[in-house]
């Protein structure tokens, strides 16, 4: 019932927040476009045969020499920008969402256990988290990327690019979840229903996941949205620096990197359009996260 009223109240608040509505629309269309990219996009940017160098560097339609076939123009290889962005967003979202999921599972699991057991286990987990926090996310990602390059044979390296990137991002994000889950678990541990569950003969795993977890979901949901945005940005950063995805399977970051070369040569759209798209996507996810936080925390309203 509480959940229902909250949801109802959340919906009501939603209709009163124009920022949240715009953010939701932007996020919805981006995600929708990303999911259905193969159906919407006119060409497949991964398939070298589907585009032609002859169409290279065409400006968007509203500029002179624009071609209605390529709404937002083409890059130097003749790839349609609309298709590239849709496919790029698809990859970025896949990596972002899986990294966030891994980080959530890892962080919430460790945080719950640390809060539940306390003592030495808690201390060890939290010190590891502190060390993780001291390393910048990019450094962690670079480190894992370097290790993967070192130990994996060259043939599989290309196939595992996405997996390595996802893992690297997940490992730099789990700390947020672990800290929040631990702190919220401490609060719940003070409530008598947790002791009641132990008295009733619940096994520790069930006390943690059946009793405590549902009661700490609110703050975790907020972190999930905010960290999804961070994960997408981190992936873009890594790809931009050239340690992410290669140019033949571009994510948003890779597209921006490619666009950099044309920044000052007049072909502005190759850089600006993917950048604006990325910024809009990340900002809208962040706004939704902030909105969720306000819904869960009545004092901030």
């Amino acid at each position: 019932m509480i959940a229902f009223i909250k949801r109802y109240e959340g919906l009501w608040l939603f209709t009163r927040s124009p920022a949240a509505i715009i953010a939701a629309i932007v996020a919805f269309f981006s995600i929708f476009g990303a999911i259905f990219a193969p159906l919407i996009a006119s060409v497949n940017p991964y398939d070298l045969a589907s585009f032609s160098l002859m169409d290279g560097l065409l400006p968007p339609v509203w500029e002179d020499y624009g071609n209605p076939k390529f709404l937002l123009g083409t890059d130097d290889q003749g790839r349609d920008m609309v298709s590239s962005i849709l496919y790029g967003a698809r990859l970025s979202l896949i990596i972002g969402i899986s990294a966030m999921t891994i980080a959530t599972v890892l962080g919430v699991g460790l945080g719950l256990a640390a809060g539940y057991y306390g003592g030495r286990f808690d201390m060890i987990v939290m010190r590891i988290a502190d060390i993780q926090l001291a390393l910048p996310a990019i450094l962690t990602a670079l480190l894992i990327d370097g290790i993967a390059r070192g130990i994996l044979p060259t043939e599989v390296q290309q196939d595992l690019r996405v997996a390595v990137l996802t893992l690297a991002i997940a490992l730099s994000l789990w700390v947020n979840f672990a800290r929040t889950a631990r702190a919220s678990t401490f609060v719940q541990m003070q409530k008598e229903y947790v002791q009641a569950a132990i008295i009733m003969g619940q096994r520790p795993i069930r006390v943690m996941f059946v009793h405590i977890l549902p009661n700490i979901l609110g703050p975790l949901l907020v972190i999930m949205t905010v960290d999804l945005a961070s994960a997408i940005l981190l992936e873009a950063t890594l790809s931009f620096l050239g340690i992410g995805l290669p140019a033949d399977s571009p994510s948003l970051g890779t597209l921006i990197r490619i666009g950099m070369q044309f920044m000052l040569s007049g072909e502005w759209w190759i850089l600006w359009i993917p950048t604006v798209f990325l910024v809009a996507l990340v900002i809208s996810i962040n706004i939704l996260g902030d909105f969720l936080r306000d819904v869960f925390n009545p004092r901030l309203r």
């Binding site: 019932m1 509480i2 008598e192 002791q195 569950a197 008295i199 003969g201 619940q202 009661n215």
Partner: protein, 323 residues
């Protein structure tokens, strides 16, 4: 003579206290310091005392919710404190707990019937149908209506929530129920209902209660025997009549004189015994009797040696040099 169900001997619970920089030597707070008592089958032992006297900690230690430092808790010839893992989990069938705060002792995201059902799911081998029947019976036994089974805890009043807590404690047919101030969070009219319900259930199911309270009126209504705790020690332990008619320890006398009476003539007769000052620092306890600094009749020896709990006749035990 009913048999002894719970026999607690020398139970001690201590907490590590960090003071100062954390590099100094560890100090301990003895929340429960070497207490012994026993509870007979089908009877109620109440532990009373002021806040911080260790009564709740003692209860939690018996239920293994707080680790005990030393001592034994014998229940049916098994030492509860030595049990581990699965063995301990099975013992939980026999010892259940009714919590103080009915607002936090029920998981807000579970429906009433699944809260009551949970101990059955965990601890019994019964079939699903049997469990459903038991839950329905328990709802009736604690005075809740069947149509309330699907509601969430926040849809109940405090008294009703405590009834759910009681039904939950009864579900595994425990031998011992530890009631940790079960009515202190309820208003007075509801307190009486819940206490009467507890007594009715005790008669019906032959339950044994370990009853924790600071309210002497409630204790008088509920108990067969009473133990008075002060600063982690039992200072007086006697059956109800003996304790209420002839309290021996000065602390108990002061406590009893503080119970308000409605009767005017009684009130005029009674003299309030005031105990000045504060309880001593629980980390640096004084050498002698812990009550000496506030005791109206303390003598020199009281602050030198600690009094033992000794029998002064008919099982009435007092820890005081001057009785």
């Amino acid at each position: 003579m009913p048999k002894t169900l719970l026999d607690v001997d020398g139970l001690t619970v201590r907490f590590e206290v960090k003071r100062g920089s954390g590099w100094g030597k560890k100090s301990y707070l003895y929340a429960v310091d070497d207490i012994s008592f026993e509870v007979k089958q089908g009877e109620t032992l109440s532990i009373v005392g002021e806040s911080g006297s260790g009564k709740t900690t003692a209860a939690l230690a018996v239920a293994r919710l707080v680790p005990a430092h030393s001592g034994t808790v014998m229940l049916d010839d098994g030492n509860v404190l030595e049990k581990q893992g699965e063995d301990l989990r099975q013992t939980r069938q026999k010892v259940q707990f009714i919590f103080q705060d009915p607002y936090s002792s029920l998981n807000p995201r579970k429906r009433a019937d699944s809260i009551v059902r949970e101990p059955l799911d965990n601890l019994s081998e019964k079939s699903e149908d049997e469990k459903t029947t038991i839950v329905a019976e328990l709802f009736e036994a604690v005075g809740l209506r069947p149509e309330q089974m699907k509601l969430f805890p926040h849809q109940f009043s405090g008294g009703q929530r405590q009834r759910i807590g009681i039904a939950r404690a009864l579900a595994t047919q425990p031998e011992l129920i530890i009631c940790d101030e079960p009515v202190s969070a309820l208003d007075v009219a509801v307190q009486a209902q819940i206490l009467n319900l507890l007594r009715k259930l005790q008669r019906e199911y032959n339950l044994t209660y370990l009853f924790i309270s600071h309210d002497l009126g409630v204790v008088q209504h509920m108990s067969d025997a009473i133990a008075v705790m002060y600063m982690g020690k039992i200072v007086e332990h006697a059956d109800r009549i003996s304790l209420f008619t002839s309290p021996r320890h000065p602390y108990t006398q002061a406590l009893l004189s503080a119970v308000p009476t409605v009767d005017r003539t009684q009130r005029a007769k009674q003299k309030r015994i005031l105990i000045p000052g504060d309880p001593p620092d629980p980390i640096n306890l004084p050498k002698g009797c812990r009550f000496a600094n506030r005791c109206p009749i303390a003598e020199a020896q009281c602050s030198q040696t600690e009094p033992e709990l000794k029998d002064v006749g008919q099982g009435h035990k007092v820890a005081c040099h001057l009785v």
